[in-house]
Each structure stands twice: as C-alpha cells, then as structure tokens.
Point group: C2
Chain length 154, copies 2
Amino acid sequence: MPAFRETLPMILNVTLDGVMPVYRELFARHALTEQQWRILRVLWAEGAVTTTHLSRQTLLPAPSLVGILDRLEKRGLVTRQRSDHDRRKVHVTATDAGLTLHSQVMPALERIHAAVTNAINPAEWQAMQDALAKITNTISDQTLDDLLAEPETT
Amino acid sequence: MPAFRETLPMILNVTLDGVMPVYRELFARHALTEQQWRILRVLWAEGAVTTTHLSRQTLLPAPSLVGILDRLEKRGLVTRQRSDHDRRKVHVTATDAGLTLHSQVMPALERIHAAVTNAINPAEWQAMQDALAKITNTISDQTLDDLLAEPETT
DNA sequence: TCTTGTTAATTAATATGTGAAATAATCATA
DNA sequence: TATGATTATTTCACATATTAATTAACAAGA
C-alpha cells in the first residue's frame, strides 16, 4: 500500500486543487460558479436538453441540478419547459444572455486550456488520458463485493 | 479547443466519478464519509497534528474541517486540544476507537487500490502520475492574469 | 508598552454533493 | 384496462465546498 498521497483519489484531487483555482477565477469574473459554467457549456453545444442528459454530461447529480438551474433561471441565463410528448421530462435551454456570456468566456478558457496542455507533450497527454480511461473502465462497473471477492492480483 | 469531455477538469472528474463509488461504499460500511476517512488516515500516520497541517494533507478546506472534526469528535474517534505553547493552534489526535477503525478498513482498501493499479501497468501508472504532477507544477502557482498575459504557445 | 502585521482557527452566508425517498408520468402486459 | 414496473424529476436531510469576514493569539519594531 503506497502513501496516502500516492493513491489515485489523492493524485486526482491534488491535480484538481492545483488547476481549478485559475478556472474559478475566470468564472467568478462573470459571476458564474464552476457548475453553472458546465451547464451553459453543454447547452451551448447541444441546444435544448433534458435534465437527465444534462446531469450525465456535466457529471452534476440530479438533485444538485434543481438548485443550480433555479439560480441560472432566476438570472435569466436559462429557461425550463416541460416536454409535451413526455410530461415527465423537462427541457432546458440557454437564453440569448446565456449564449452571449458563453462567447465572452471562451477566449480566456482557451488560453487556460493551452497552458494546461502545453505543460506536457501530446504523447504524454494521450497516454495520461488513456491510462485514466482504462482505470475508469476497469473499476466503474464493479461493486465493492466484486472487488473483495476477486483473488489477489498483486 | 477540444470537446468539453476532453478538457482536464472533466477528464479528472470522470475518473473520480468512476472510482469513488466503490471507495465510498467501503467507507459507508463503517459509517464514515470520504472526508472523515481522509482525516483518520492522516492521524494514523502522523499522530497529533495541527488543524492547518490536517487541512493541507487532506486537501480539505479549513472551514470544512471544523464541522467534520466536530462530528468525528462527537463519535469519539478523535480528540481536539489547544496547544500550550501556541494557544492559537489546536492539536487533533485519533482515539483508540479511531485507530481500531482504521485497521478494520485498510485490508479492503488495499484490495481496491490493487484493482485500480492493476488496471494499467507500472510504467503507465508512473507516466500518468508524472504527467499530472507536471501540469500541477506548471499551473498551480500562476494567476489568471499571468496566463492571459502570456503569448500564445499553440 | 503600544502599534502594526501576521498566523490559526472559527463563523457566516451561500452553493453544491450524497443518498434515500417521494411524486408523477409512462410503459409493459396479463 | 387495471396493475406492477420503470423513468424523470424533485424533495428531504445531512455533509461538505467556497469565499469573505471575524476573533484570538503571537511577533516584530518604534
């Protein structure tokens, strides 16, 4: 067993703690939280989407979406509308104000992303992405009892 | 600019969303939250530590620690004591119950960690860790204005 | 000693995460 | 077509995150 800091959750959280402040500073300049930004970004790319779809794309839990969308709607950045075909569903759309805001943030966001990706070379980036995807695919569909039942591999 | 899902924050969050549920299931079996576990893990390794130190090691924000430690203390897993030399400081220590709990969780935690690391080979693991560390070191000490002032590198 | 600056911990206000349960609408089918 | 199963969203209760502002204690210097 490695040191606490060498475990995957801490490796990932240390990285997030290192990079997110600069993203948050950008969002804060437009009075947006990170989560609000994620939602706008999906709406901008996909138009009207259902709450469930939004939850999956943004990784934001459905119960959290309720409040986040409330606040975005109150600020006039998004609108919600019940589906006519399936009245269980709610369609979320960005308003013009929401779309405008998006285009104001993108240039700076691209600068941040460039700085992040340029910290390593493209091959390293791809390898990192592949490694994390491989881990996710291996673990995400397993339950704790699955893992505890497996014979030791190390 | 890549797709939303190809950006670093989302890559990291997708991975965390994929692996954390199995960790949380383990912690839940001992009535612990992930944050409470982080604290116990540090206390087990280091003995009595100050709140600030605990915040740095666990990545938990100091304001959050107040409540988390309150609940751990109420359950008799940790104790808090003002420092005599510097009465601003508070020393946190795990009780015997806290230490016992730790040894009960470790075996299963090692199984999870083994499954995670075995998803990729050691070289890939090291490369992933190095890549993320390099990104963190490059970005974490920069402010947004620093990044926006830099000439385009891409 | 008084002032000024700094550090450690906490409080406050707001936003979000997590897990379980509730609600309402749709679906499958006997 | 009534009924049980499923889906989409929301509510609830509790725990944590984020940022700014306090409070108390220490530290250095006029």
